[in-house]
C-alpha cells in the first residue's frame, strides 16, 4: 500500500539559495559600507574620495570606536553597560578638574581617567556578580550615581583649562599627517582584538557569553571574567571622555552622554559583520566607520542634520535586521 501513491512535488530549495543568503548575512553589512563609499564617491568625487577626507573620517570615528570597542567586551560576555556615556562625561570632568584645580600633568590626568573608568567598571561588575543584579539595572544605577558625582564636582558647569593648548594637541596633533586619535584607535583595536581572540581571558569571555553554566562547570571563573569585561568597558569609556574634553580643552558635564547609543548602534551593527550575530572587535570598528562615512557623506552632499539620525537609526535596523533575516533564510534553505 505504499507503492502506488502519487508523489507530491514540493518546492525544493536549491543549496545555491542557502549560499547566497549566507553570503548576504556575513557580507551584507560590508556591502552597505561599500555602496556608501562608491555612491558618495560618484556624487562628490572632488571632496569625498580624497586621502584627506579618508583620514578625516577615521579621525571622526576614533572616539566612538574606542568606547564602542570597550562596550563590545561587555556584550561578548552577555552583559550590557548603560553607564558608558556617563562614565565618559565623568572622566572628562574629573580629569579636567584635576588639571585645573590641582595642576596635575596630562599623563597623570590620563592615568586618573583610566582609574576612574576601572573603578566604575569594577562597581558595575561587582553589583552584577556579587549582588546578582541584572546588568541593565546595575549599570543604569551606577551610571546615574556617576552623573551625581559629576555634578557634585563640576556644579553643572563646563570645566575649561586655563592653558588648553598642550591638552588640545592630543587630539589635534598629527604624526605623518595623521591625527593622534587615529593611532590611538588603531593601537587600541589591535590590543583589544588580541585580548579577545588570542588570550585565555578573551576565550573565556566568549565562552561565558555563549553559555555561562557550561563555562563555570568547565572551570572558568565566570564572575571574575564578567568583572574584567566591565572594567575594560569602563576604561575605554573613560578614555573616550578624556579625548573628547581634549578636543575643545574643556569638559562639558554631559559631553559623553551621546556616545551611549552610538556605541550600542555600532556594536550591534558590527555583530552582523562577517559573523553570525556575534559581537567582535573588527565588526564594531566597521560599524563605527560605516556611521562616520554616512555622516560625512550627509555633510558633503549638504543634507540637513536630521538625516544623520534617520541614517543611523535605519542603518542599525537594516544591518541587524537583514543579517538576522539572511541567517534564517540560509538555515531554511539549507
Amino acid at each position: 500500500m505504499t507503492a502506488a501513491l502519487v508523489d507530491v512535488p514540493v518546492l525544493q530549495a536549491p543549496p545555491r539559495r542557502a549560499r547566497v543568503w549566507r553570503w548576504f548575512g556575513r557580507y551584507g553589512a560590508l556591502l552597505v559600507l561599500a555602496l556608501l563609499v562608491v555612491g558618495t564617491s560618484a556624487l562628490e568625487p572632488e571632496t569625498f574620495a580624497t586621502w584627506d577626507n579618508f583620514i578625516n573620517i577615521l579621525n571622526q570615528s576614533a572616539l566612538s570606536a574606542i568606547i564602542a570597542m570597550g562596550l563590545t567586551f561587555a556584550l561578548v560576555t552577555g552583559e550590557f553597560d548603560l553607564s558608558i556615556g556617563n562614565v565618559a562625561s565623568l572622566s572628562g570632568v574629573l580629569a579636567c578638574t584635576a588639571m585645573v584645580s590641582h595642576d596635575v600633568s596630562i599623563p597623570v590626568a590620563f592615568g586618573l581617567a583610566v582609574v576612574i573608568g576601572a573603578v566604575v567598571g569594577l562597581a558595575n561588575g561587582l553589583v552584577v556578580t556579587l549582588l546578582n543584579v541584572n546588568a541593565l539595572v546595575a549599570t543604569l544605577g551606577i551610571g546615574t550615581v556617576a552623573v551625581g558625582v559629576n555634578y557634585a564636582v563640576a556644579g553643572g558647569l563646563p570645566v575649561s583649562l586655563t592653558d588648553p593648548a598642550p591638552f588640545i594637541q592630543i587630539t589635534l596633533g598629527r604624526f605623518l599627517g595623521i591625527p593622534y586619535p587615529v593611532f590611538i584607535m588603531l593601537g587600541l583595536a589591535a590590543v583589544l582584538w588580541f585580548v579577545l581572540n588570542r588570550t585565555v581571558l578573551g576565550q573565556s569571555m566568549q565562552a561565558v557569553g555563549g553559555n555561562p553554566v557550561a563555562a563555570q562547570l568547565s572551570g572558568i571563573r565566570v564572575d571574575r571574567v564578567r568583572v574584567v569585561a566591565f572594567v575594560i568597558c569602563g576604561i575605554c569609556a573613560a578614555l573616550t571622555g578624556l579625548l573628547l574634553a581634549s578636543r575643545t580643552g574643556s569638559a562639558a558635564v554631559s559631553g559623553g552622554d551621546t556616545y551611549l547609543l552610538a556605541a550600542f548602534a555600532a556594536a550591534f551593527f558590527g555583530s552582523a559583520v562577517l559573523r553570525d550575530g556575534e559581537f567582535h572587535i573588527i565588526g564594531t570598528l566597521v560599524g563605527v566607520i560605516t556611521v562616520s562615512v554616512g555622516f560625512n557623506a550627509i555633510a558633503l552632499i549638504g543634507l540637513e542634520t536630521y538625516w544623520q539620525y534617520l541614517f543611523q537609526g535605519l542603518l542599525l535596523i537594516l544591518g541587524v535586521g537583514v543579517g538576522s533575516l539572511a541567517r534564517h533564510r540560509a538555515a531554511a534553505a539549507h
Binding site: 500500500m1 543549496p15 581572540n197 588570550t199 555563549g210 553554566v213 563555570q216 568547565s218
Partner: protein
C-alpha cells in the same frame, strides 16, 4: 501483526481499522545531506507505533515534517485516509496531530490550568476565557487518563513527569487523535514510567494512535504494538513488537551485532587500590545527607538512584559547584575543599554534567573551542595567550581519539548529533587530565552505537588509572561498574559489588523495597 514494508514485501495485514496516519515515500535533503529517503510509516488507531533508530537516523526529521515544522521534498501524508498538506504546526493541530517533546513548551510561571488553556479551541465567552468551563474540561481529561495534576500549582513547582502530564492534557483538550511522544520517560522514575504505560493503554483503548519515540529499547518493546526502524535516513523495516527482542531490535538499529554489556572482567580487586577520594558526613540539605563515599584509583563506581535522590547534587559538591553545609572530603589523603569548579578541575576532578546542551556546551561555538574550553590555561604560558592553531590541533587529536564524527573541528558543536556532542563534552573533561571523572547520566539521548563508544572511553580511562564516578538511571549500563552505590533521599544506602548489581536488584534497593538485603550488603564505603 507485521506491517507491509518495502523490505519484507507485502504481508497480509490483520488490522481491520484503516490507518489513521500514513506517511509514504517521504524524502528530505538538507544541503547535500539526505536526511530521509523514501521513508514510509503507518499508524493505526488504537495502536502504538514505535519509531526507532540511532541519533541521526532521521526520526526527528520525520516527526518535524509531520508536525509541519519542515517540509518534505517528496512524499505524501494521509490522515484518516485523506491526503493532507501539513505546511505549518497549525495544520497539524487542525488534523488532530499532537506532539509532546522532551522540551515541553510550558510557561513555568503559569499554573497547570493556565498552560492547558494556552492551547487552541478553549471555551470562551465573548472573548473572555471561561476558566470554569476550562477547568471542567481539564478535569474530564485528567479523569480520562486516570491521573490528575494539581491544576492550580505553578508548572515550575511540578515534577518533570507532572509537567509532561500537563502537556499531554493540553493535547487531549484539543481532541488529538494522533499523539507523538518523544522520549517521554527520559527523566521519569520507574514508577512514573509505569504510570505512563497505563495512560498509553487508556488512550489506545479510546482509539488514539500513538507514535512513540524512545532510545530505551526494553520500554519500546513493552509499550508498542509495531516498531518501525530507521537507519541513516532509510527505512530498515517495520516489525511487530512481539516478534522482536532487545538484541534483534538493536541489530536492526545499528546494522550489526553489538557486544553485550558484560560485567567488567577484572583480575585485580579495584577496591584494593589506594583510595583517591573520601568523603565523610558530606551534607547539603535537603538533597545530600551525611554521605560517606570512597573511590579508589582506577575504580568505576556507579551511583544508582531515582531521579531526585540527590545524585546530581552530590556530583556538584564533589566538583565544587556547590558548597557543602557539613562534612569533609580528602583527595589523595589531603583535605579537598573546592570553592568552585575551577578549584575542582585544578585538583583533578572533572564533571560531565547531566544536561549536555545547557550545561556542557557552548552550542554556537566550534567543536575546537568546546573541547579546549576547560584546558585553555597552560601554566607554561604565563601571559595567558591562546593560539587557535594549537587549540585546533589539540581538538583534532581528541576528535580522532574519542571518535567524534564531525566534518571539521571548526563546525559549530550545536550541529552534531547527541552522541557526538556527548563525546565532545567527555573530551573536554578528559583534556583537563582528571584523576576523578564524574559522569552524570552520560548516555541519555545517545544512540546505541555512540553509547558503546562512550563505555569504551570510560573503560580505557579507568584502565589507565583514572577513577570514574558514573551516575545513571539506566541500571543496565551500570554493569560496566566495579561497584555500585545506591542513593536514596540524599543518603547512600547500599554498596553493591559488580556481580550483584543487576537491574532488578538495584531497582528494588532504590525504592527501598527489600529490607532483608541490608544484612547481605556491605557497608557503603
Amino acid at each position: 501483526m507485521v506491517e507491509t514494508t518495502p523490505l519484507d514485501g507485502p504481508t497480509a495485514p490483520t488490522v481491520t481499522d484503516p490507518p489513521c496516519l500514513e506517511m509514504s515515500g517521504i524524502s528530505k535533503q538538507f544541503g547535500g545531506h539526505q536526511a530521509l529517503e523514501d521513508v514510509s510509516i503507518t499508524l493505526h488507531p488504537g495502536r502504538v507505533l514505535a519509531l526507532c533508530g540511532a541519533n541521526g537516523a532521521g526520526k526527528s526529521t520525520l516527526v518535524r515534517i509531520l508536525a509541519g515544522v519542515e517540509s518534505a521534498d517528496a512524499g505524501t501524508i494521509r490522515v484518516r485516509g485523506q491526503e493532507e498538506t501539513v505546511a505549518s504546526p497549525g495544520d497539524a493541530t487542525r488534523l488532530g496531530l499532537s506532539f509532546i517533546h522532551q522540551e515541553l513548551n510550558l510557561v513555568p510561571k503559569f499554573t497547570a490550568l493556565q498552560n492547558i488553556a494556552m492551547g487552541a479551541d478553549h471555551p470562551r465567552r465573548t472573548g473572555v476565557l471561561d476558566l470554569r468551563g476550562l477547568r471542567r474540561k481539564a478535569l474530564a481529561v485528567m479523569d480520562r487518563i486516570g491521573y490528575s495534576v494539581p491544576l492550580d500549582a505553578k508548572v515550575e513547582q511540578l515534577s518533570v513527569s507532572d509537567r509532561w502530564m500537563v502537556s499531554l492534557a493540553r493535547s487531549l483538550m484539543r481532541d488529538a487523535s494522533i499523539v507523538a511522544m518523544d522520549e517521554p520517560t527520559a527523566s521519569f522514575t520507574q514508577e512514573e514510567a509505569d504510570r505512563l504505560y497505563g495512560i498509553v493503554d487508556e488512550l489506545t483503548a479510546d482509539g488514539v494512535g500513538i507514535l512513540y519515540i524512545s532510545h530505551r529499547l526494553e520500554e519500546v518493546l513493552h509499550v508498542s504494538d509495531d516498531v518501525t526502524v530507521l537507519r541513516n535516513g532509510r527505512l530498515v523495516g517495520s516489525y511487530a513488537a512481539r516478534d522482536l527482542d532487545v538484541a534483534s531490535l538493536t541489530r536492526h538499529i545499528v546494522g550489526r551485532d553489538v557486544e553485550d554489556l558484560t560485567h567488567r572482567v577484572t583480575d585485580t580487586d579495584p577496591t584494593a587500590a589506594p583510595v583517591l577520594l573520601r568523603t565523610s558526613g558530606l551534607t547539603r540539605e535537603p538533597r545530600v545527607r551525611d554521605v560517606d563515599l570512597t573511590i579508589h584509583e582506577g575504580e568505576i563506581l556507579g551511583v544508582a538512584g531515582l531521579v531526585g535522590a540527590g545524585r546530581t547534587e552530590l556530583a556538584r559538591l564533589l566538583i565544587g559547584a556547590d558548597a557543602a553545609h557539613a562534612g569533609s572530603m580528602t583527595l589523595d589523603g589531603r583535605p579537598y575543599r573546592p570553592g568552585s569548579p575551577s578549584d575542582g578541575i585544578k585538583a583533578g576532578v572533572a564533571l560531565v554534567p547531566e544536561e549536555r546542551r545547557s550545561q556542557g556546551l557552548v552550542l554556537r561555538s566550534s567543536v575546537a573551542s568546546n573541547i579546549t574550553m576547560a584546558s585553555m590555561r597552560d601554566p607554561r604560558r604565563r601571559l595567558g595567550t591562546f593560539s587557535p592553531r594549537r587549540a585546533a590541533a589539540t581538538a583534532r587529536d581528541a576528535v580522532s581519539r574519542f571518535g567524534v564524527k564531525t566534518s571539521s573541528v571548526h563546525d559549530a558543536v550545536g550541529h552534531l548529533s547527541g552522541g557526538n556532542q556527548q563525546k565532545v563534552v567527555v573530551s573536554k573533561c578528559v583534556l583537563t587530565g582528571p584523576r576523578l571523572l564524574i559522569l552524570d547520566e552520560p548516555t541519555v539521548g545517545v544512540d546505541v552505537g555512540a553509547r558503546g563508544e562512550i563505555y569504551d572511553i570510560i573503560r580505557d580511562l579507568a584502565a589507565s588509572g583514572t577513577s570514574i564516578l558514573m551516575i545513571s538511571s539506566d541500571f543496565d549500563e551500570l554493569a560496566i561498574c566495579d561497584r555500585v552505590v545506591v542513593m536514596r533521599e540524599g543518603a547512600l544506602t547500599h554498596s553493591v559489588p559488580a556481580s550483584r548489581a543487576t537491574k532488578d536488584h538495584l531497582t528494588s534497593l532504590c525504592f527501598g523495597t527489600t529490607e532483608h538485603l541490608g544484612t547481605t550488603e556491605q557497608d557503603p564505603s
